[in-house]
């Protein structure tokens, strides 16, 4: 299985990994500044997890990378693209960047297979048979090859999220963005999604992941970035940031996340 994946680099492999370079990024909604000058580099093939309290700007930062949000200031380079250049070909850039949403956002009027083929045929102009082949391979890759003809409302949350990952992978992205991919899931289906992401990381995909799954971050991430109040408070190796953070805000956040019941009792 692994051999198949790594050998077919154009369709299911991810050897063409792209990096991301973010410089001094600022984003405001009216008077509310959500990102206050963020700089962050992700090397090709690297897995970086963004952690932090809600409202800290993690998701906004992630959405700026594929321009679902338009930054006010700063620069973003993705692969060979200058995302903040007003003349950038957004659609061409987005082909290289897979996005996985918290709410899956599968297309409800298309079955799992068509969810994975629609952009291949419309955007990449692949033939239907080629697109089907790629889609089947990627559904197989997320363990759902047998459910290709199911519609989203016939799938569990975890299955839908895995289809959403297969849909993104079918475009042969060089970078994958995950926006709290397990936050909307029932606890028992979280593991399947995380294991798909773990495999993806092993295959060398560049990944930028907003998550609350500290276990996943510690195990899979090369680096962890802790954000709070629109700034990067601390970043470093996964083990270091999560197990022995330097900053007080990081310590306090992790204490609350890793041991929520303890806090409830002492409060």
């Amino acid at each position: 299985m692994n051999d198949v994946v790594t050998n077919s680099r154009n369709h299911t492999g991810s050897l063409n990994a792209a990096g991301v370079s973010i410089q001094n990024l600022r984003k405001s909604y009216g008077a509310n500044e959500v990102l206050k000058g963020i700089s962050l580099d992700v090397a090709p093939g690297e897995v970086v997890c963004l952690i932090g309290p809600s409202g800290s700007g993690k998701s906004t930062l992630l959405r700026c990378v594929n321009l679902l949000e338009q930054p006010n200031e700063g620069t973003i380079h993705v692969g060979g693209f200058d995302a903040t250049d007003p003349d950038v070909d957004i659609d061409r850039m987005r082909r290289k960047v897979g996005m996985v949403f918290q709410q899956f956002n599968l297309f409800p009027h298309l079955n799992a297979l068509r969810n994975c083929t629609v952009a291949q045929t419309k955007v990449l102009k692949r033939s239907q048979s080629e697109a089907d082949k790629v889609a089947h391979a990627n559904l197989e890759r997320v363990g759902l090859g047998h459910l290709a003809d199911r519609y989203p409302d016939q799938l569990s949350g975890g299955q839908q999220q895995r289809v959403a990952i297969a849909r993104a992978l079918s475009m042969d992205p060089e970078l994958m963005l995950f926006d709290e991919p397990t936050s909307a899931l029932d606890p028992e289906t979280v593991g399947d999604v995380l294991s798909v992401m773990r495999n993806l990381a092993k295959e060398g995909m560049t990944m930028l992941v907003v998550t609350h799954e500290m276990g996943f971050a510690r195990e899979v991430a090369d680096r962890v970035v802790f954000m709070d109040g629109g700034v990067v408070v601390e970043e470093g190796g996964a083990e270091q940031v999560i197990s022995s953070p330097n900053q007080d805000r990081t310590k306090e956040f992790l204490k609350r996340v890793l041991d929520p019941t303890h806090i409830d009792i002492t409060e």
């Binding site: 987005r94 082909r95 960047v97 009027h109």
Partner: protein
Amino acid sequence: MAMTMTARQRARVSLYVQAGIFVVAMAALILATDWKTIGNSVFNFGKIGPMFPDIFVAGLRNTLIYTFLGFIVGLSGGLLLALMKLSSFPLYRWIATGYIEFFRGIPALLVFIAFGYGVPLAFGVSWDVTAVVMVSLGMVAAAYIAETLRAGLQAVPRGQMEAARSLGMPQWQAMVTIVIPQAFRIVLPPLTNEVILLTKDSSLIYVLGLTASQYELTKFGRDGISSLGAGLTPLLVAGAFYLVITIPLSLLARKFESRSARTKR
């Protein structure tokens, strides 16, 4: 204390009273009716034989054709207007809003007169009755359908557009392949109701001069009034034929509604 009733008893008594009022009113209506005259001039089914089979061949057929053509124009125009109304370009929004308010605000009859008599006079052209119905009905329908479609387009979750754009689809392609198909599912019930209204509005063509082969149901019925000597009975028959079209459509709309209630999203 013993006279007070429970809420359930009160509801039951109220129901009896309402039923009683209804029965009395119906009885009064039946007693007051001049059945002999009505029998001759409204329910005179003995003399309507000559209406058949032409009511199928001309009346029903033309009503269906006029409605269909009007709906096609209305649907394409309505989609265009709905997209214009949601456009980020202000001029498009103003044009669409102006159009919609205008055509929803005036009687459809005036539109028929304008296109049937006004346009030929203004431009020195004469055009086919079918074209007049198609344009008049279509332009009025477009205004109503536009609002329905706009609501449907806005009901598609924003994440659908974001997901499509994230896969590299340009705005228009995401609209055509992802958003519009979902919007149509949402608006299928109100759109079906729109067809019902169109079916009835197609009768407004009666203000134009028609040849017998162009008669739709209402005109066919009115023609029968003068030629059959059965009073208003032919109109009653025409009315029944409208129900033959509209009731199945109504059932269809209800079916769409229950289906979309089942499959949420």
